[in-house]
Symmetry: C2
Subunit: 898 residues, 2 copies
């Protein structure tokens, strides 16, 4: 070799190793690594990424310098394989593949069988005793080369192929084509090539090779690849090119091809798993035309190779310290390993493998944790659709509350309740959208499906609160309430028909399908404990009911980070009292209703505190605008209009007006709803603003909290209440609201004569609160970032409207890389959070900071929460395991980056 | 005096001067100043603020030290006046007043006639030959002393007084009480005093005096005073106490009392103006029981004193360099000046006086400008209610669009239009709220009054755009649409009755009242030119129509800072085309409607550019959500329901369904409105988001802008278009929208073959835009702060909802000092603005920054805009003079602070 190491253009597989990924690309480095492990790899060589970069600066000079070195390496391959490039009898065939340091779509993928031409195809036919295979390979080579190297539209090749298939009969397959057909196709392919390119299809393998190498180089800078790099912040390090000898598993009955896993990818069990086909090529296994054999059958058929394969799997697993998925080929009784990679696995298998490997001493705990993608863990927490079942997806909506469930389609809340009372347990409530009036129907159903609304719509919020699956905003379904059915495309689903919804994925599925139950035990539990040992962040739960609190505890919550009191108001027994409270015209009337609510709320808090014994429980005071508890205006107006028309009719026919009283009542309700209705309720009279306008509501809630806490204290049970005042934007608001409530808290404690630790704090969910956090921390003992609202206001996005109207377009056009309601926007919202923490801790160094938006259960956001120094994240009970693992990831990544 | 200067407890009036405000308080310093000018001031002395502070540390010691010094000063007063404290014949009477360095409500105000007791009252009666005056003074002294010094509830005194008044007859006044009545009252007052305090009312004037001094000290630390200081950031510098000889203008016909101004406070003319009463006391002038005489009558009645008074006025005006308002008393032919202060004046008088004084060389231009409160200038810009007229205010609403106007009450848009077509020019449209459907009614009316909505409601925005007065959100009026009337309290206003609304103050007034026309000329013009010479900020106009542009130019705009294109869409001729555009189901249909709008928009821009020749015109692309252009959902639903019921009736009676087609049509509209309707439209599909979802709308607008600009360029007229993209929150949004529009702009310019300067920029109105302004400035050539929306999102306040539901409560409870929609919130919103300017200019130093929210016309916000380095403010044409003066203020204040 004439070049220095710095300018080394080519590494053969023996020269490289996996640490040279930046030089050889991922694929090249891996092939080199396996070669050096002593595995039988079809030999070849890799052109470095640096060569690619040189090519872009001086293309001609680079190719000129490259040529002799490539030819020298081809010669080496000829010597190793005892074959000859372009030979008519025993030709050396190679594959050419790109291989960047990071996996990248949009680049040239693969050219197989390079080296075939009109002569050598005859040689292969003779040698393999399989002329069909030889001509089919040649046909594929011309097509691949024409398409990926020369840029001829693949459709044009397919048109020729299809024409010949049609000649064989109406439903003919590729495999029905005979040698003579293939030869005709090859002739037409070559004619197409000449017409498109202006030259004949190159018969010289050397020419084929260099055209392919240049095509790989160029593909690095095609538009799709550039865009992909830009979006994913991948540097411009160029691509390597791998040239590798072809081997064939279809050379006869002493040849085979297959795939194998070092452990069972479905269960994680430590036993090899795989399938193979004798006298076949790789794509036959994938295509599923012949039924492959189980790996254990190989023990009889190829006993020596079977042992060799098992040893290889074990060796590779030990070497890569992860479960391996390999492709292999047996050519004439000789085993070749074509590829190894970390094997894909089901989430539960992943957990088992990680924990087993720690026990086996193969990896340490941190590595085991890092091998688990926290996002996938969530799949273990909900009922899911059995992956092996065949389903018919009718439509997709927004995945608003996770879990899959089947039930009969019911189109109104009353029927749902009635059927539930009759014992029907499987009900899916289907509504254009839900309102507080539908709450009894939601209670009665197993899941909810709506045509409108987003992740914060009433249906979504209530369903998540109840832990029931929900698919919302499924705009493709058209609900006909009158006829109690919905239409989607040509399908009509009528009342009583069974459907399945998957709130994890947003799918709406025909009929009842098999579901898989979630469970936390065994290795899963062990893994979570490992994560707990590593993580710094506390993980709390968003839990509104004793049932939620119980679940949260089971799933390992360190406390409750968000207990939303409004969900307690939505309870169907209480809603009328809440409505009476809202409708009251005087302070006295309001107080009367509140007096009824007090013992109910106290009871809720008592139960939750008791379950969470000794752990902090953050209770948010009433937050939503009051009209959320009232029926919809248009509905009441229509009802009133109906009454009026009946009245008018009665007057004209009978000269009586029997509905006067009813109408007056309706008019009162209409006028109240109108007076409470708002242009933009998200930014209207809610949160702490309610407490300023109607202090009695907050006062009742704080009484309930402290009475419950004091009761438990008297029983000797430890309680740590944290009162959270929502929607604070100014110091003066917090001061005003808190001073009143603090008095009630202290009076209650004094009256009970107990010793109780408690905190008053605030949500940080208004941009202004973050901007003036130094002032707010003068009154707040903790900050809980309400990142849902903070994201809404920082972006000026109303989530419901954005997700149904324009966010999909933003994501599609890549104006947004990710939905900021799923993953925290670190540049904007995150900047405000950092600012708030810095300002807040400047005023009060011991300030406790957490996050209680939905981001609290999302791995990237959890990592960010760790980075900016939050004390805890809070998420729905079912996300707690995800959060525990993500929190551990954050620590390990931080350590690894140091 | 035994104390050192440092511990000087007391200054007599001759010792002080106006620079000692911090020591003597405002009042004391002013009395000293006048004494030293040689004016005849009832002599007295001032206890220093420091003494007050000492009192709070060591009350007893301070009083002990203070007593001999006070007595020494009292002795001096006795010598000067030849009266004696507590004397039975010729008693020295004094007043005791607090006087802090800054005017402060909540503190003890005044005790008059101190020194009276059961004996000396007889002396006064004899001396003044007016026993009624003497006993009334004593009665008042006991009441004042009891109330403000000893804290006895004033109500208790009033109860006694009222009882005796009732005994004189049903409608008896104070003045009906005779000496014998007053003597009875005094006896009962003293009894009340003894009962409440436990001691007799003090007869010893020395005791009266020291109790009063201590009461003044204590009032500095009463709760209201502390709160006021806290809110207004006033330091705790203590209050001074002024003790001054009483003089009486009611000693006989050689005595008098009055007020005088050095110039006419109504017109500003340079001639003294005043009123006086002979043999009267100050409160008689104020009470208006006797008709006072004009100042010029004094020339005959008291010729010497008249000359003396005129000289005094001139001297004081020269000394204070401002028009003075004095109180004077003539006691036995001797003139005493009791008080001087800068005189209150009408806005137009203020302007004339300021400009005249510059011409007279009395003040320089900067002082003249600073003497004008910019807020008051706005009153010169609109029709206003004649201050001299007697009006009956029916109710108050939100002052949404300034100016006063009278007209007949009309309750629907159709009638308004019909009457206008018949020639009726005075119409007030009265609606619960307006919608685009009412637009023809708004055009036909002179003003609009709504029951609901805030300053950004449809009615408010459209009225401001049209320059018509509007009062909105007048919740006290109850509109009965059916009977075409509104009720407020017991008053009913029916269709056709005349009312007046004042959009400047929010008043709703019965009948037609005299109005005053605005004008800019003479001294007003001169003053504005002075301001222009001083100011650094550019002042642009928010102008949407050629008429607005014309006005803006007349009022001195440097350009247009905000031209809202949506108001052009609201034009009743265009609305149907806009609606067709929105309703279109295909891109082609939409394009067809847009093609119709293009020439209309081009025409608008052509006219505006032409008027603003050579000045920059910033055009904002379509901003509001599209459903703002559609009718209200509930309305269409009710209409549809009616049709259905008629249909159902027809079917049951006649077996026909004549309205099927109509119903289908309505249903389509309903379904469209539903699909466009949003939970929180403020944060929904609007602004640049519209341009991303339906690019054709923006494209049409940019075509119209550049075609109009190029047309004018070809005619040799200079045009500077600035295209403003609203609601940007991310760099990627701006990049996406701009790249498309930039292409259209360049293509158009190329096609016309002209040379055109233009800019593309963005509103900064989303918090995230401010947070990431460094990125956004990469694409934006200018930033225009949309502080209305920025305030909404930074606070999480929907303005409409906040102003009608809770902001009044916030202001009332002093949680907010000012409405952040009126005056920029410097701590929150302002922080974001500073951040955005710093980040933006970091990326692009030549970045032009302005403000185009309503704050652009508000003086405090203009000063802030100057401070943070904005290049211009933009406001409604009528606010331009205000802005020009406020901008000059900002420069002068900055200079004075250096």
């Amino acid at each position: 070799m004439t070049t220095t190491e710095k300018n080394k253009f080519i590494y053969n597989f023996k020269e490289g190793n996996r640490t040279l990924k930046n030089v050889l690309g991922g694929k090249g480095a891996n092939l080199a690594e396996m070669t050096n492990l002593g595995l039988n790899i079809p030999q070849g060589f890799t052109i470095t990424t640096e060569t690619c970069l040189n090519y872009f600066i001086k293309p001609e000079k680079t190719m000129e310098e490259l040529k002799p070195i490539v030819l020298q390496h081809i010669e080496e391959l000829e010597n190793i394989t005892d074959k000859k490039f372009g030979d008519n009898k025993n030709p050396l065939l190679v594959s050419v593949r790109s291989g960047a340091p990071m996996s990248m779509p949009g680049m040239m993928d693969t050219v197989l069988n390079l080296g075939l031409n009109d002569q050598s195809v005859v040689g292969v036919a003779t040698q393999t005793e399989n002329p069909r295979f030889a001509y089919d390979s040649y046909r594929r080579f011309i097509q691949m080369f024409g398409d990926v190297v020369m840029g001829i539209s693949d459709e044009k090749f397919e048109r020729i192929l299809n024409k010949h298939k049609r000649l064989k009969g109406r439903s003919a397959q590729d495999t029905d084509l005979e040698v003579s057909d293939l030869q005709k196709i090859i002739t037409e392919y070559k004619a197409l090539y000449e017409k498109e390119i202006g030259n004949q299809f190159p018969q010289d393998p050397i020419k084929q090779l260099f055209l392919s190498i240049e095509a790989v180089f160029k593909s690095w800078n095609n538009r799709r690849a550039i865009t992909y790099r830009k979006i994913n912040d991948i540097p411009d390090f160029g691509t390597a090119v791998n040239i590798q000898t072809m081997v064939f598993g279809n050379k006869g009955w002493n040849s085979a091809t297959g795939v194998a896993f070092s452990r069972d990818p479905s269960t994680g069990e430590k036993k090899p798993f795989g399938e193979y086909l004798t006298n076949a090529q790789g794509e036959d296994v994938v295509a599923g035309i012949r039924t492959p054999k189980k790996l254990k059958e190989m023990k009889k058929e190829f006993p020596e190779i079977y042992d060799q394969l098992l040893n290889t799997l074990e060796e590779l697993e030990k070497h890569y310290r992860d479960m391996q998925d390999i492709e292999f080929t047996i050519e004439d009784g000789q085993l070749f390993i074509l590829q190894t990679r970390n094997g894909k696995r089901t989430p539960s298998a992943g957990v088992k493998i990680a924990v087993d490997m720690v026990k086996e001493g193969l990896v340490n705990k941190e590595e085991a944790i890092m091998s688990i993608d926290p996002k996938k863990i969530s799949k273990l927490m909900f009922k899911s659709i059995d992956e092996n079942s065949i389903i018919r997806v009718l439509a997709r909506g927004i995945n608003a509350s996770p879990g899959a469930v089947s039930g009969i389609a019911i189109f109104d809340a009353d029927t749902a309740e009635e059927l539930a009372n009759q014992g029907q347990k499987e009900i899916i409530l289907i509504r254009p959208q839900t309102k507080p009036d539908d709450i009894h129907g939601l209670y009665a159903s197993s899941g909810v499906l709506t045509q409108f609304g987003g992740k914060t719509s009433h249906a979504a919020v209530v369903a998540r609160g109840m832990g029931k699956p929900a698919v919302v905003g499924a705009q493709d379904i058209e609900i006909d309430e009158e006829n109690k059915e919905f239409r989607v495309g040509d399908t009509i689903v009528q009342e009583g028909e069974m459907i399945t919804i998957d709130g994890t994925t947003g799918k709406i599925i025909e009929g009842k399908v098999p579901l898989v139950e979630p469970e936390i035990k065994g290795e899963f539990l062990e893994l979570l404990r490992m994560a707990d040992d590593i993580k710094r962040l506390g993980v709390r739960a968003n839990a509104d009911t004793p049932e939620d609190a119980q679940k949260a505890l089971e799933f390992g919550a360190d406390g409750i980070g968000l207990c939303r009191t409004e969900h307690m108001f939505m309870n169907p027994e209480r809603l009328p009292v809440v409505q009476a409270m809202i409708m009251s015209r005087t302070k006295e009337e309001r107080q009367e209703a509140l007096d009824k609510l007090l013992p109910m709320q106290r009871g809720d808090f008592y139960e939750i505190f008791k379950i969470m014994e000794g752990k902090p429980v953050t209770i948010r005071l009433l937050d939503p605008p009051l009209h959320e508890f009232l029926p919809e205006l248009a509905l009441v107006m229509l009802e009133s209009q109906e009454l009026k028309m009946v009245n008018a009719l009665s007057r004209s026919l009978l000269n009586i007006t029997p509905l006067d009283k009813e109408i007056t009542k309706k008019n009162k309700v209409i006028s109240l709803i109108r007076s409470l209705s708002e242009e933009n309720p998200m930014m209207g009279l809610r949160g702490c603003r309610l407490g300023i306008v109607w202090p009695e509501i907050n006062e009742m809630q704080v009484k309930a909290i402290f009475q419950a806490a004091c009761d438990l204290k008297k029983e000797g049970i430890e309680v740590i209440p944290e009162v959270m005042i929502p929607l604070i934007g100014m110091f003066s608001e917090l001061q005003y609201v808190k001073s009143d409530l603090m008095k009630i808290a202290k009076e209650t404690i004094l009256r009970y004569g107990v010793d109780l630790d408690f905190k008053f704090g605030t949500m940080i969910e208004i941009p202004r609160a973050a901007l003036t956090a130094d002032e707010i921390a003068m009154e707040a003992e903790f900050f809980s970032f309400g990142t849902n609202d903070l994201t809404q206001m920082t972006y000026g996005f109303s989530r419901d409207d954005a997700e149904s109207k324009f966010l999909p377009i933003y994501l599609n056009k890549e104006i947004l890389k990710e939905n900021p309601f799923d993953t925290i926007d670190q540049d904007g919202v995150g900047k405000l959070m950092r600012m708030a923490i810095k300002l807040g801790k400047g005023t009060r160094p011991e300030l406790k900071c957490g996050i209680c938006g939905e981001h609290g259960g999302e791995p990237n956001s959890i990592e960010f929460s760790h980075q900016i120094g939050l004390d805890y994240v809070s998420c729905s009970p079912f996300r707690i395991p995800v959060a525990r693992i993500a929190a551990a990831h954050a620590v390990i990544k931080e350590k690894n980056n140091k």
